[in-house]
């Protein structure tokens, strides 16, 4: 085995051990942030696959997350829980008594999101740029409207409560590491290169014999699968879901992470997810009443989101490449950086 592979496996194990330890020792609030970061890593990677690697600007992520969250929640809930939730209108019979183990439900969530992506992708992927963005946004809204109105399947606007909390620290971080490894493998494969070719110049790629429709739809389906899984994990973490959760604001948050981290950089998405999640929670005080030296403000709900919008604007206007540009972390790069420091350190000594 090569040195870098060993190092990567070791790093993954260290991260998993660290988060398991953190889970045992830290408070609930900190663990929540930790888990949310992992879920956002998955979501950011899935959006980056579309936006950064295939050049498809999609604004429909919240829709796929909603599909995943609902599928997994409905498949894992016990019949008794379902009866409690569906008090306005009983649930359709074929769902009433289903209860599957969590891993199967998670895969089903991703698969359903993927199937929806196939259905949406056939018409939508014929469009380009901003038209695609609007069409995917439209589909996400349609999904949300359907979820709100199918009372006997999704419980409508009331949403689902009391979803089992399967998203433990260990589960979400394993999924996140899996997603990172998968993305790295995908991007480095010949398939990943065709995706980048489509992103950089569609016409040239087509002239070189790349099947554009196939590449685009594969990328779209994979991304939606990941979004579905991410949505399911999110649902199992906060244990209540309703259609209002899955609006454009959610997609905006993920887009913020991708842009901040660097469009087309896996490392960037990971760093961005952690930074944004931590900041989101750390800046929560902004929404609370504040006490300055001379004047007191009442709570200003929304100030936090103002800061985030400004952050996004600053990044877009002044540092379009984000934190990482399209560069990646690599062991070789890290070692050469370390080596350079050591050498310069040596040189400095008399």
């Amino acid at each position: 085995m090569k040195r870098n592979t060993i190092l990567s496996i070791a790093a993954s194990l260290v991260i998993l051990t660290a988060v398991t330890l953190a889970d045992a020792t830290l408070g609930r609030f900190t663990i929540r942030i930790l888990n949310l970061s992992a879920i956002y890593i998955i979501l950011a990677l899935s959006l980056n696959l579309l936006n950064g690697f295939t050049g498809l600007f999609s604004l429909g992520h919240a829709g796929f997350m909603a599909v995943g969250a609902y599928v997994s929640a409905l498949l894992t809930m016990s019949p008794a829980q379902k009866e409690m939730n569906f008090f306005l209108e009983p649930i359709v019979p074929f769902l009433a008594n289903v209860q599957l183990p969590f891993p199967i439900a998670l895969i089903a969530a991703g698969t359903c999101a993927g199937i929806v992506a196939v259905v949406i992708g056939v018409p939508a992927l014929r469009l380009r740029d901003d038209y695609l963005a609007i069409a995917t946004l439209g589909f996400a809204e349609i999904i949300r409207v359907i979820l709100t109105n199918t009372q006997n399947i999704t419980n409508g606007a009331q949403g689902l409560k009391g979803i089992t909390k399967y998203s433990t620290t260990w589960v979400v971080w394993s999924c996140a590491i899996l997603a990172i490894v998968f993305m790295l493998a995908l991007v480095r494969s010949s398939y990943g290169r065709t995706m980048k070719a489509v992103r950089d110049d569609e016409i040239a790629a087509e002239a070189m014999g790349v099947n554009i429709v196939k590449v685009k739809s594969t990328s779209f389906v994979i991304s939606s699968f990941m979004a579905g899984v991410g949505g399911a994990l999110l649902g199992h973490m906060i244990t209540t879901i309703d259609p209002k959760m899955f609006t454009l604001i959610l997609t905006f948050n993920i887009l913020l992470i991708v842009v901040l981290g660097g469009n087309g950089s896996i490392t960037g998405s990971v760093l961005g997810a952690i930074i944004v999640t931590v900041l989101m929670e750390a800046l929560r005080f902004l929404d609370m009443p504040m006490n300055f030296l001379f004047f007191k403000t009442d709570g200003l709900p929304g100030l936090r989101m103002v800061i985030f919008s400004i952050l996004l604007m600053i990044v877009v206007l002044y540092r379009q490449r984000g934190l990482m540009g399209n560069k990646e972390f690599s062991w070789d790069g890290a070692f050469s950086l370390l080596g350079r420091k050591r050498r310069s350190g040596k040189g400095g000594r008399p």
Partner: protein, 297 residues
């Protein structure tokens, strides 16, 4: 359904359609000149309504002056928005400009939530717009009659500006070819800024008229109309002013009529526009009145 209800719904559809048309024109003008979906347009519409609200309530202006002030401020705001969020990115990839537009939209909405408060505000009633007019058994709010008339007047003025003045000529030139227009000594930045100004003025007028009809304001009220009007512009053929009007009316009519004739679908109301959009994009991607464009290599 009797004939009176039908006319009632027709009046509703006319005023909703005119509102959509008015905002859709803003989208289509900006898209025509910059190839940019101005995501923040719906929020400019929201600001127009709030400016009018504060001018009437906080500054106690008479409504006529208040509306003019609000419309002017909205126009200036639109120009400022272009200067701050879009001009620095003129030569950047399309995705960056779009992200900037989305960011601007969220920034305006969130600043709105902080400044105006999240709770809906209600606009004081203005008698001229609030009287109920009876035509036999049909009764409509007077504002529902004002809206289509104002829209038609504005449309006429706009068509004159675009087709009959030198400024309009510059706009059409920039929209056809930005670089060539610059070579012809057209001040491109000024023209684009002016386009934003006009489109924001229209959004401001739309925002005020909407609050006359539904006197509830909240900082997120621009989001859905914004999306729908963009859809209206695309349906009509983006970049084409008559197309935007056609799309706006079409969308307004379909929405009102489906809710009126098929009440069991009311919950799906917000999805109609998107279904229509996707249908049009698939059948005729350049919109009903748009010209087909081929991508040059």
């Amino acid at each position: 359904m009797d004939i009176a209800t039908f006319f009632q719904q027709m009046a509703n559809a006319m005023s909703l359609g005119s509102l959509y048309a008015l905002i859709a024109i803003g989208y289509t003008m900006v898209y025509g000149i910059l190839r940019l979906i101005n995501f923040a347009h719906g929020d400019v519409f929201m600001l127009g309504a709030y400016f009018a609200f504060y001018a009437v309530t906080a500054l106690a202006m008479p409504w006529g002056i208040a509306f003019i002030v609000a419309i002017g401020l909205t126009g200036l705001f639109g120009m400022g928005l272009e200067r701050a969020a879009y001009r620095p990115l003129r030569d950047s990839p399309k995705i960056s400009i779009m992200i900037s537009a989305i960011g601007a939209s969220f920034l305006i909405e969130n600043v709105g939530v902080v400044l105006f408060g999240g709770r809906p505000k209600s606009f004081p009633s203005i008698p001229l717009f609030d009287t109920v007019i009876h035509f036999g058994s049909v009764s409509v709010l007077s504002v529902s009659l004002f809206i289509p008339v104002v829209t038609l007047i504005i449309l006429a003025a706009l068509l004159w500006i675009v087709n009959g003045t030198r400024t309009g000529l510059a706009m059409r030139a920039v929209s056809t070819d930005l670089d060539a227009a610059r070579l012809m000594a057209i001040d491109v930045n000024k023209t684009i800024s002016l386009t934003f100004g006009i489109s924001s003025v229209l959004a401001g007028i739309g925002g005020i008229m909407r609050t006359m009809k539904y006197p509830q304001l909240n900082p997120l009220m621009g989001f859905m109309p914004g999306l729908k009007c963009f859809i209206a512009a695309v349906i009509g053929g983006i970049g084409n002013i008559q197309g935007a009007v056609l799309g706006g009316f079409l969308l307004g009519f379909i929405e009102i009529m489906i809710v009126a004739f098929l009440p069991e679908l009311t919950g799906y109301r917000d999805a109609f526009a998107f279904v229509l959009l996707i249908a049009v994009l698939l059948a005729k991607p350049s919109g009903l009145l748009g010209k087909n464009q081929t991508v040059k290599v």
